[in-house]
Subunit: 508 residues, 2 copies
Amino acid sequence: MTGKKPDLRSPDSLDFLRPGIHFTPVAGFMNDPNGLVFDGTQYHLYYQHNPKAAYSAEICWGHATSHDLLSWKDQPIALHNTPEGQAFSGCALLDTENTSGLFDGFDGPNIVALYTRSLPTRQSQYLAVSHDDGQSFTSYESNPVLDIGSPDFRDPQVLWHEPSAQWVMVIAEVDRHRIGFYGSTNLIDWTVLSHFGPAGLPTVNYECPNLIEIRDEGGKRRWVLFVSINPGSPMGGSVTQYFIGNFDGRAFTPCDGILRLTDFAKDAYALQVWSNMPDDEAVSIAWMGNWQYCQELPTPDWRGVMTLPRTMSIRQDTHGYPRLVQVPRGLEPFRQSLLSESAFSLNEASRREIGLPESGAIELVIRLTAAMPRPVEHGPVGPTINRFELAFANAGGERLSVGYDVPSSQIWLDRSKLRGFDHAFFTGRFSAPVDTTLYPDRRTLDLHLILDGCAFELYANQYLETATALVYPEQPFDRLYLSAEGTDFLIEALEINTLDKTMERATL
Amino acid sequence: MTGKKPDLRSPDSLDFLRPGIHFTPVAGFMNDPNGLVFDGTQYHLYYQHNPKAAYSAEICWGHATSHDLLSWKDQPIALHNTPEGQAFSGCALLDTENTSGLFDGFDGPNIVALYTRSLPTRQSQYLAVSHDDGQSFTSYESNPVLDIGSPDFRDPQVLWHEPSAQWVMVIAEVDRHRIGFYGSTNLIDWTVLSHFGPAGLPTVNYECPNLIEIRDEGGKRRWVLFVSINPGSPMGGSVTQYFIGNFDGRAFTPCDGILRLTDFAKDAYALQVWSNMPDDEAVSIAWMGNWQYCQELPTPDWRGVMTLPRTMSIRQDTHGYPRLVQVPRGLEPFRQSLLSESAFSLNEASRREIGLPESGAIELVIRLTAAMPRPVEHGPVGPTINRFELAFANAGGERLSVGYDVPSSQIWLDRSKLRGFDHAFFTGRFSAPVDTTLYPDRRTLDLHLILDGCAFELYANQYLETATALVYPEQPFDRLYLSAEGTDFLIEALEINTLDKTMERATL
């Protein structure tokens, strides 16, 4: 492909943008993940879906199953758009004890879906049960099970709260900027427990709340409440914020007044967690998209990507604040090593070029330390620049750059030098301070990057920082540049792998 | 200049980037405003300054005076870098009652500066008094007046709190992410009152706290605490957050758990308020800069711009949340009308071009309403786009664009199509939802824009949204485009003015 500029009007020429290991819909539009449940044998991924066109309309639940959360098998539509409303977001769970009474005589798994039926004037919560391992659902005869007469009340997540021996529903009162907590012993009759919010960003809509216990580094379990908001992200449009605190079976109380976002870029929305995970592992997946431009992305036949599944934990940062740690999960079986080096020097003002295969997903892990002593010196017109940059590039001059400014301990992600998608809301540059707990001399950075078609994930500082970004070059990247400015860097370790394709999708 | 591409290495060719009505240093580097005080006759603007070079080093207090907050007369350096430390940020106030005892026999104005002397290992608070109307200061003999043995304790602001009959100092415990409140009856002896924080963004450093009472729309006075943070803004680098609440003479209590930022772009830092304003008018000024790139801006001889002075008030938004309203202050005498039109139509897919003068500041006020009925329709590959765009442009193809997406009620500011400054942290695109209190049908937008050299200010929705951005085209803008996509717009009013130059600075 080198030097050849594809015709962006031809869908075929965009095949290189289709991810191979990130979940995408076969065709049409996809947004939020839904109904994430492990049924004892396989994982289910349902998702907000319009199979007919690559924009949001007549939303149903698409469905895929997997044994490893990465190799997905497409399944038939599980919940359809009906006269009762579009099948909006919700959860799935196992009613193993048949608390609902809806699985009498059935041998399981007792999969229940609780989700929102959306009409223009009313959003209410529906219950449905599956007797065929999640392939299809039968609507409960007395739906809705929860209706407060609101057109903006949606996205229920339900979990079993053992200490209070009840099901707890967490649901968005969208335009009131609060999360409702409801309790039930049978999944059918719901009583309000409490409300949380407004809190955090003063946005337009709250959506997709998720509540889960996550272990911190000391093994202590902390309650974490995820709340997606749209629009109103400081980065523009959609973003997922989260609160760490306590849930006592009635109310959620945050541990502090700090605002936390799951991501420092802007394509990680509607983060959801798997229910019924073995060992209570906290595993999430989010939609790689932003409502500001998700219906105008340059792939006209399909739009929507899921993040990789991520294992979540909690770690204290430099300042003693608990923060979310997100680690991509289960990639090992799909890795093929391309390059592995250690302890080499990248000299000031030098650049190293590494060739990349023309197609397929690339994983890169690097750890580096700047030789520079702090503080910086001043040249005639400004301070000495001390920066490391890593760039995916191609012969067309496009660059997807990740870098580290050593004096200020900030990382950047720059997708502004790509030409495949130009949109007033498609922000090009993102940055974040790197927490320095692990590297007190503030000269070291570790990065774990995954580039898979239009899906790019960045993890830094042992997974304390995450950036999730859609990227649209006009042509595939075929090379990688490492460069140093103002100081030498020791590259302590560099690994580059390919990641096998895990799904049948149109690709190169 | 049309079509001529200036040589960016020549400082002369950059003269068009020098603002005419926004305050800039004659030469060298400028960051935070300091010591903002009205002395009964004139306004003082001190500022963090390195007169020798356009980067941060050997910081002193620059000084300028004005009778209207816009026409500034440069004054000699007021506080110098000394062996006791750089003269970091602080405040100035009138000790009219001579509570300090340092103005015995003096006829006033009794101007006191309280500020931080900064050494690498220690930051402590110094008091100095002026007997020549703020031209120079005499250091108090027993400085420092406040020292907690910290290298990260700075930026005192002091105000008289009448109900508790004391001076209150608000000061940043920088890396502890909290604001200290101290009390004194003589400006010399300080006692700790309380601390506030951590709150809001989990950042690296807290700086430049300012506490002030601001009237809401009902005339009620609310306490507002501004806290600048760097780095750690979600937009990258530096940002000013604020809290609305109560201050009882001892402690500040926010009215809610909502995060508020003063700006949706990233060049409005270290917001400070004037003390001793007639009628208790709340007037602020902020530094147009961001520590991510402020020392690398393309004007090698001078760097640093202040925002226009802004009158602040508090208004409830759609959701009932109190929010800051910022209105540029005192521009009327400097306005020369270029164009004034009303009630004309901008048709779908049409574009109107308006010529602009080749130099000087431009002010634009527009109010428009989309003809489109909501909700949007879908075309073959996505929803119908319904957008208005206004772009400052030049023959080089550069565009500074502001736009409105009607269906989602979001505005954007796009500086990514300018080529005069390219930096990994120089984010190009910003956006925000427009609060719809005033326009319940969500089809109307009002904008007030000021473009003055490299300084660009955007106010939207009757001043509830503000974006402050440095802009670096390669050549001057000489035209304006108005364009409509997907729907007709009624332009209810359009005014374009020039703004007179108010300071002697190198310009075209």
